[in-house]
């Protein structure tokens, strides 16, 4: 590998510090022994982790967020993957319109979407239920799933599906044995985006949750209003750890195998 130009090295280092410093401060501050968030921390202790892990005020929302994130990801996958396949195959009238419609939530401020959802769900008698929260998150996550799957599927050699059909596979078996495995990198990337978008979404959750369904970002936000102790840093560190662990696992299982998808 050729050495990077010195200026680029400097630039990359500066950007890394800029991006990582705030995260690092939070993580380091979580290990403090003191009663206030300080940097550098006053002494080393795990007491704040112990505190938040015993506190149902954090643990319930954490569980809610994980559950919501996973369900929103699965639901948006079930909607976006068939949509992407149908849109690329292109025999549908008005496919440009449909695609734009499905991607539209990307350009809509989530707080506006949240207000709209609040009124709508109240009208149909679903307000503040887990279902309406999930619906809101699916709307937000579908475009991410759709974009990545569309990208991968559009770049796929269509003759490979033709080959499967001629070899005796009907439409379903072609999708199961050939299309889905081949677009897996797109699905995995879309799922990561979708989960992350849902996992730290605040606006919709703020308006559509109640005491039972509150999510982690919402509970952190409301805790911050009245408290300034390192519990927030500790729960944030746990949240970061979950995301990083999820990314590492996915990279381990899917990232390496992607190499094999570079056919020809």
């Amino acid at each position: 590998m050729k050495a990077m130009p010195r200026l680029l090295v400097l630039y990359s280092a500066a950007m890394s510090v800029f991006l990582l410093a705030p995260v690092l401060v939070v993580v380091v501050a979580a290990f403090t022994a003191g009663d206030f968030i300080m940097f550098p921390p006053g002494g080393f202790s795990l007491r704040w982790f112990d505190h938040v892990l015993r506190d149902s005020e954090f643990i319930r929302p954490l569980w809610n967020s994980v559950r919501l994130g996973v369900m929103a990801t699965v639901a948006s996958g079930l909607l976006a993957i068939p949509a992407a396949l149908a849109l690329v195959r292109g025999a549908i009238p008005g496919r440009r319109w449909i695609e734009t419609f499905l991607l539209a939530p990307l350009s809509l401020p989530t707080i506006i979407l949240a207000v709209g959802l609040l009124f709508f769900t109240a009208r149909v008698g679903l307000s503040s239920s887990f279902t309406s929260l999930l619906a809101g998150h699916v709307i937000i996550t579908v475009p991410y799933m759709l974009r990545t799957v569309l990208g991968v599927y559009a770049g796929m050699n269509r003759e490979i599906e033709d080959a499967a059909r001629v070899l005796g596979a009907d439409g379903w078996r072609t999708a199961w044995y050939v299309t889905l495995p081949m677009i897996r990198p797109g699905i995995v990337a879309g799922a990561i985006f979708a989960f992350l978008m849902s996992f730290d979404e605040v606006a919709v959750a703020l308006l559509l949750t109640n005491a039972d369904t509150t999510t982690l970002p919402v509970s952190i936000l409301s805790y911050l209003v009245y408290n300034y102790d390192p519990a927030v840093a500790a729960i944030s560190t746990i949240q970061i750890a979950i995301v990083v662990a999820a990314l590492l696992i996915l990279e381990r299982f899917f990232g390496i195998r992607n190499v094999m998808f570079a056919s020809r």
Partner: protein, 378 residues
């Protein structure tokens, strides 16, 4: 343009009775574009037919119609006497090889070949035996565990062939299978495919835009142009007795002259070449009236070049050599004659005997009347 050569040619209907693949009046339209304009071909069991033509002539569309990947606007396709026009792709029992190989990139070689067997319900020891057999057939034993990305183009195409053959399809369809290979590999794959095809006796339809490939491999060649079949014939007939000027032009190199019939008698027609005072004699044929517009084509290898004043053939022009191009087995000699440029292809051996080929030499350019392919203009 009409055919004026008297050579007989096999028409598709004559053999329709024993056909394995029988294509009847197939038309296909993409929007307002007519990709196929009523195609009829009857292909005998075990026959190797090449669909040859320039890009956009409809050859690939026709192949995809047979496979079921394209549904023709009208017409019928029969395999083994049974209409498959409404049979879905996966129930047609055909094998297909694509230009892009289209191997499943996420499966090993063995799994690629196993796929068709699995779809046909062949499993276990029988499947393993047939996979081994298919790999042996294409001389790729030992590659079972490789992924497509770990093989060269030629190797991938062999696997694609094995995958298509392992289900013992009724017919094998190939869509420009060697188009992405380099010249040398291409030739060895052509020879191998032909060997395999003969050994298995499998009916084969091969799409190509490469005339050399079509002529050297096929039992019969269908030359296609603008959604129609111009001629369906043996390679020799296609080359020596083209039925239309398109076929004559498309296959091989030709010298082309246009003119109109000036006079006729029992022995010959006299063709006045456009833009000159010059007339040449052509073999008389039926229905040719004085004044008719005619195109004459002569293959370069039938043109003789000799030093000025040397004995010559029946139709003789005089001119000067402008260029010589050495192309290996032959030397192409370009001469400017009194009726325009003419190219003659002289074999190496002949060239050594008669030292005629140098730029600026005065030469006689000549050929026999029967070397002329004559077409009446539409």
């Amino acid at each position: 343009m009409d055919l004026m050569n008297t050579s007989p040619s096999i028409t598709s209907h004559a053999v329709a009775a024993g056909a394995l693949v029988d294509i009847r009046a197939i038309r296909h339209r993409f929007g307002t574009f007519e990709a196929l304009k009523s195609i009829d071909i009857a292909i005998r069991p075990g026959e190797f037919v090449a669909l040859l033509g320039p890009s956009g002539c409809g050859k690939t569309t026709l192949l995809r119609c047979i496979a079921g990947l394209v549904t023709p606007t009208s017409g019928e396709i029969l395999i083994d006497g049974r209409s498959i026009t409404r049979v879905p792709i996966h129930k047609r029992d055909l094998g297909m090889v694509f230009q892009s190989y289209a191997l499943f990139p996420h499966m090993t070689v063995a799994d690629n070949i196993r796929f068709g067997l699995k779809m046909h319900g062949v499993r276990g020891a029988e499947a393993e035996r047939r996979i081994a057999e298919a790999l042996a057939l294409v001389q790729m034993v030992g590659y079972e565990a490789r992924y497509p990305a770990q093989m060269s183009g030629g190797q991938q195409q062999r696997i694609a062939l094995a995958r298509a053959l392992v289900t013992r399809p009724k017919a094998l369809l190939l869509d420009e299978p060697f188009g992405a290979l380099d010249a040398k590999l291409r030739e060895s794959m052509q020879i191998e495919l032909r060997r395999l095809q003969k050994a298995l006796g499998i009916t084969t339809i091969f799409v190509t835009h490469d005339q050399q490939e079509a002529l050297s491999m096929a039992d019969r060649v269908a030359v296609m142009n603008g959604g129609r079949i111009e001629q369906l014939d043996t390679p020799t007939q296609i080359y020596n007795a083209p039925m239309t000027s398109f076929v004559a032009d498309f296959i091989g190199q030709t010298n082309r002259f246009s003119g109109s019939i000036q006079s006729k008698n029992e022995a010959a027609l006299h063709l006045r070449l456009d833009g000159t005072e010059r007339t040449i004699e052509i073999v008389p044929c039926e229905g040719m009236k004085v004044g008719a517009r005619v195109t004459v084509m002569v293959r370069p290898e039938r043109v003789q070049i000799a030093a000025a004043g040397m004995p010559s053939r029946e139709v003789t022009l005089t001119g000067k050599v402008t260029d010589t191009v050495f192309v290996g087995q032959t030397l192409n000699v370009y001469a400017q004659t009194d009726v325009g440029p003419v190219v003659a292809s002289v074999s190496n051996a002949m060239q050594r005997e008669a030292k005629v080929a140098a730029s600026g030499d005065s030469v006689t350019v000549s050929w026999d009347r029967d070397a002329q392919l004559v077409f009446r203009d539409a």
